[in-house]
Symmetry: C2
């Protein structure tokens, strides 16, 4: 066991603060990783503050991890010390169910092991995430970071990236499709980039006229102000796919109406009951679909990273000294970040 | 123009009663049909009573029509007098949009012409449905009734049949799939028969233990009592497809939970806002889909009729003298019919 430095929350009212955690010695299939960068996801805040009522304290958040291999177990074949690697939202799964067999570990029938606040399948310990100097992860759950991808700006690809890439690919977005993205935060701006790179005609739905220029810069062809009834009517029955990244309750019906016959509204942010209620008539009369998607499996995450390298896709980030993390949390809650904070983990080692 | 006998409602509070209506002389593409049988759909009641606020009176309901060709226009090539034919929910569409091009006239971008209470695209008159001696319909919207299909028991195939057949086929139900049907009325019992004939393992969800034997007789392999929490838990994550035929608001979440990862809940009855609200988490965490489907297009309706002939599929019906139609409406509202009333239209001619 190694004792290392980390940042985490000791209770739901505590700030994120320094603490010490233990990391296991590498098992035969493990990769030991020095963490270089870690993105901050909204989920981190939810866990730190126990918004979902299931946080085990202390919690060390962070599941957008880029680092460098420092050691490997005897059985590891794919990685060696010095390799640049990534770790996302999952560090283990049952590896036996049909989902795991298909490389869809995020849908593991027996529940995946989350990178933090999960329960280790071997020793029952609580997992600690990326706000720390180092992490030890089973080879299957380690990603190879392609050469040429900026290490810091690729960290959020491990969550925000794969969460938007996976549904676009799985639901079949391709050249010529009309795709709209709802919301332009960490997920939304990645959705715009991926949809564009996949050959789609891309529209951003936003409530704020102020995001127009920025959305066009990100690759959107068009911007529709979702609070403007005239603009919404003008796009009725228009889109093959709408990727909705908004994580709070909102009215989905205007987006449903903007779908073509056979179009699909894909939820990747919302986890609450759908209120105001969805209009079943708008689903039935145009054979529309409402679907959801959760992060992505390991093979597809690797595929996404390689896609990003080929298409020069990165997350837009603001680099952070870990000592300023509480201020970053506050700014995130005001949506005051374009578009993801990434912690420079060297600031933890200093 | 020909003046013929019909039954219809003169106002939302009036009983269904005899009246006279005009039918046009056949246009070059028209088929004139003597109506032999007409099924009664719940939609008929909704229109008679103006439940949806858009009934034009007098209304002559009926869109599950089986009859015999009596005359054809000069341009008609597919039918001749004496042919047994069917007419369903649509008697026209724009014939120019992409939906019509694909034979999906029910999703016509310019709105299909409903068999009753629709507006004729040529003369602007209000269409009258099947509670009448005869009807005149453009060739494209006339179905050929396969030989060997009982004429009366096949009438409801034109609405209840195609409404359940189309989504099962379109969403890809096949051999070995696990399909559940919610509700066993006119639509539900057809859904059970079609899913079974398509090779699926079929489960019926019902609130009523009394329907068990009957569901098994219809072809269901299993019956799950949806009000029994233990039975519902036992089928969590089980089904590839659930066909929900219930036309009134009900909680969809227990059915969502019964879907596998990537499973699809297909709504064909519900047209209201979905309340209680759908749980987005249950959609996202298992990549499930909620979809809808509306009747079917003309080519697929013909395909369905031919499928029924090959597989000996008919609707279970109770034959009705048209003079008893108001009693039939009352019984339908108590769900006291197995499973569709079909009017013997000879009782109108007597």
């Amino acid at each position: 066991m190694a004792t290392i430095k980390a940042y985490g929350a000791q209770s739901e009212t505590a700030d994120i603060a320094p603490l010490s955690i233990e990391r296991r010695e590498p098992r035969p299939d493990d990769v030991a990783i020095r963490i270089d960068y870690c993105g901050i996801c909204h989920t981190d805040i939810h866990f730190a503050r126990n918004d979902w009522g299931r946080t085990v304290y202390p919690v060390v958040p962070g599941h957008e991890i880029v680092g460098t291999v420092t050691a490997v177990g005897d059985g590891v074949t794919a990685f060696e010390p010095g390799d640049r690697v990534g770790v996302g939202c999952l560090v283990d799964s049952c590896r036996e169910c049909s989902a795991c067999d298909e490389g869809l570990e995020q849908y593991c029938d027996n529940g995946f092991t989350a990178t933090y606040n999960g329960e280790d399948r071997h020793d029952g310990s609580v997992t600690f995430g990326g706000y720390s100097e180092a992490i030890v992860v089973s080879e299957r759950f380690v990603l190879r970071m392609p050469e040429g991808l900026d290490a810091a700006a690729s960290a959020p690809l491990l969550c925000a990236g794969i969460t938007t890439y996976s549904p676009l690919v799985e639901f079949g977005v391709g050249s010529g499709d009309r795709v709209a993205v709802v919301g332009m935060g960490g997920l939304g701006h990645m959705g715009v980039k991926f949809a564009r790179a996949l050959g789609a005609e891309v529209t951003l739905f936003t409530r704020s006229e102020s995001k127009r220029e920025e959305a066009l810069r990100q690759g959107a062809h068009k911007v529709v102000i979702s609070t403007d009834d005239g603009q919404m009517e003008a796009v009725a029955d228009r889109f093959d796919y709408i990727l909705d990244t908004v994580p709070v309750q909102h009215d989905l019906n205007p987006y449903l109406d903007a779908l073509k016959r056979d179009g699909t509204l894909i939820l990747v942010g919302l986890l609450e009951p759908i209120e105001p209620p969805l209009d079943a008539g708008a689903v039935v009369f145009r054979r529309r679909r409402v679907a959801g998607s959760l992060i992505g499996g390991l093979p597809e995450t690797q595929e996404m990273l390689d896609f990003c390298a080929r298409h020069d896709i990165l997350c837009d980030i603001e680099m952070l000294d870990i000592r300023n993390i509480n201020e970053a949390y506050e700014r995130m809650q005001r949506s005051d970040v374009r578009y993801r904070f990434v912690i420079d983990m060297n600031t933890l080692r200093r």
